[in-house]
């Protein structure tokens, strides 16, 4: 045919579209020349139109080149669109914030890389209002008040019909009289509807339209959205569930705060009641000996005679009050420890030494070899250990048992455990529940404060105490938490 576009090589002057200085390579590259220049050249198009299918080879070579560009462009555009949709749906899958989900969705519908609608409106289903309320709009610059756009489920509305049928639909002013009001609010002649449904509940509606160009919504593009509607619904439902969960968590936290507040109030009331209870017990414990002291003194004054037995009673009761006040003071001091870093092994050893010296009782003990560094009030801990040892000794003495008291100290991963075992016959269940109460005692001359001081000391050190009967006595177990304890690694320190 002798046409330029068939030649393998061209002279610079043979093609007016090629710049011989800048595009010299095109003169010798036929394929590239066809793609970049010939396909948009009017001469090429005219020549091709006269080809009558005779030279099919030419046809095969050139048609795809000429029209393939357009196809290729369209394919590229579609690829870009698909990529954009894919990216958006990927982000939607990971987003749990409802506002973000709605924003991404509407951006996807209105962006050029997405579906290219000029406006997209999200109406959320509000169960309390039994209808759809506009909550977000993305538009190409059209701004208006959409707050009037409430769609009630009770309305006889084609929009609702499509929604409940769970299908995307296009609405046209010409053939939809019942939606005239909606069209007026939107200011368009045509809009598309995308229903969003959760697993078993309505989520919302998306309305898409073109209020600038007033272009009709293409049913084909809405058809394409049907597949996406499922994914959008999933993302919206997930975000709504997250919101519900967040609300419930907030409610739970608030409930927890209220409960803690109430617990604090109850605790304070219990403390106050405990104070009242202890105070009343103190009054009782002191009133008895005072009655004796004052009563006998009055009696002696009246009789004006020397009564040695009576005077001894006064002396005994005065000592008793003194004992009560000393123990009360210990009880009070126990609630104000002065903690320092001390070796618990040394403190326990000292307690045992002092106890043995005063009671002449035997103690068999097992303690760790290395120091156990603790943040404690060593005096209080020593008093506590001595109180427990004295309790064990008195129980045995009452039964006439002369056996060594056992004491063992073990260090565990999170606590130190000290056990004291006696053979004094144990205690009843009733005594077990009351033995740490202030002024409870089974002893004739006891103040009933010894073990309550033990409990107070432990409480101030974050520890606790348990008592269990053994086959012939009592096992008292004291636990101190490890956070106050460090087991020294260096045995030589």
């Amino acid at each position: 045919m002798g046409v330029c576009w068939l030649k393998d090589k061209l002279a610079p002057s043979e093609c007016p579209s090629i710049d011989p200085e800048k595009e010299a390579s095109l003169l010798s590259d036929k394929a590239l020349r066809l793609k970049k220049k010939c396909s948009s050249c009017i001469k090429f198009v005219v020549d091709l139109s006269s080809v009558n299918g005779v030279d099919t080879q030419i046809y095969k070579e050139t048609m795809p080149v000429a029209f393939g560009n357009e196809m290729r462009e369209r394919i590229e555009q579609l690829e870009e669109k698909l990529s954009s949709i894919y990216r958006s749906t990927k982000v939607l899958k990971e987003t749990t914030n409802l506002e973000e989900v709605i924003s991404i969705t509407l951006s996807l519908l209105t962006s050029k890389e997405g579906f290219g609608f000029e406006r997209a409106i999200f109406l959320k289903y509000e169960p309390d209002r039994k209808g759809f309320v506009p909550v977000a709009v993305h538009s190409a610059g059209v701004r208006g008040s959409l707050s009037d756009m409430f769609i009630s489920v009770d309305m006889d509305h084609p929009v609702l019909k499509a929604f409940f049928e769970r299908r995307c639909a296009v609405f046209d002013r010409k053939n939809q009289k019942k939606i005239y009001e909606l069209m007026v609010i939107l200011g368009v002649d045509s809009f598309g509807l995308i229903p969003l449904w959760g697993s078993n509940r309505p989520l919302g509606i998306i309305i898409v339209d073109n209020p600038i160009s007033m272009k009709h919504v293409d049913p084909a593009s809405l058809k394409a959205l049907e597949g996406l509607a499922g994914q959008l619904s999933l993302a919206v439902e997930k975000a709504m569930l997250y919101e519900d969960l967040k609300c419930k968590l907030k409610e739970l936290e608030e409930t927890k705060r209220q409960i803690e507040k109430q617990q604090n109030i109850i605790l304070n009331m219990e403390k106050a009641l405990a104070v009242v209870d202890v105070t009343s017990k103190i009054v009782h414990e002191i009133r008895n000996p005072l009655t004796v002291i004052g009563g006998i003194a009055n009696m002696l004054l009246k009789k004006r005679e020397f009564d040695e037995e009576a005077l001894k009673k006064i002396s005994d009761e005065a000592k008793r009050i003194d004992m009560i006040l000393k123990d009360l003071s210990s009880y009070n001091e126990a609630s104000h420890p002065k903690k320092i870093k001390a070796d618990l092994v040394y403190v326990v050893k000292e307690a045992i030494r002092e106890f043995r010296r005063n009671s002449k009782a035997e103690v068999v003990y097992k303690l760790p070899k290395a120091p156990v560094e603790v943040q404690i009030d060593p005096l209080h801990i020593k008093k506590m250990i001595k109180a427990i040892l004295y309790n064990a000794f008195e129980a045995q003495s009452k039964k006439g048992i002369d056996a060594p008291i056992k004491l063992e100290m073990e260090v565990y991963s999170d606590e130190v455990v000290i056990t004291v075992i006696d053979r004094g016959g144990g205690v009843s269940d009733e005594v077990k529940t009351k033995m740490f109460e202030p002024f409870f005692t089974t002893k004739k001359d006891g103040t009933g404060l010894g073990l309550s001081v033990v409990l107070m000391v432990l409480s101030e050190h974050g520890g606790n105490i348990e008592v269990e009967n053994t086959k012939d006595g009592l096992c008292v177990t004291v636990k101190l938490p490890l956070k106050e304890v460090q087991y020294a690694q260096n045995l030589n320190s």
Binding site: S280, N288, G295, A297, A310, K313
Partner: protein
């Protein structure tokens, strides 16, 4: 001579009351627990009045009071305690009188006199 039963687990209290009531011309019997008191009342029908402590180590005075009232309705009982709060306990209303322990025994002595007269046991 009216016979008074003093029930208190504190021996110093019993000592004081014995001295004071014997000075008043009463015969005094002592019990150191509720159980002992019921035992004495079972065996001795000549007790004219009971002075009963409430807070005792084994049986409480209120429990003992219920037993006493069941067996002997006409036996006057004075509850005598270092606690003032037991007056609000309705089971203490079974007693004829409630006296708070004090170094001044005037009120207790007056109540003893009054009740012995009321019950014709003076």
């Amino acid at each position: 001579m009216p016979k008074i039963l003093i029930v208190d687990d504190e021996d110093s209290i019993r000592f004081l009351y014995r001295k004071e009531f014997e000075d008043e011309g009463y015969e005094v019997v002592e019990a150191s627990s509720g159980e002992e008191a019921l035992d004495i009342l079972e065996k001795d029908e000549d007790i004219d009045l009971v002075v009963l402590d409430i807070k005792m180590k084994t049986m409480s005075g209120l429990e003992a009071l219920q037993h006493i009232v069941k067996k002997q309705r006409n036996l006057p009982v004075i509850l005598c305690s270092a606690y003032s709060s037991y007056q609000d306990d309705f089971s203490s209303w079974l007693a004829d009188s409630y006296v708070i322990k004090s170094p001044d025994l005037t009120e207790l002595k007056n109540e003893v006199k009054r009740l012995l007269k009321k019950y014709g046991r003076d």
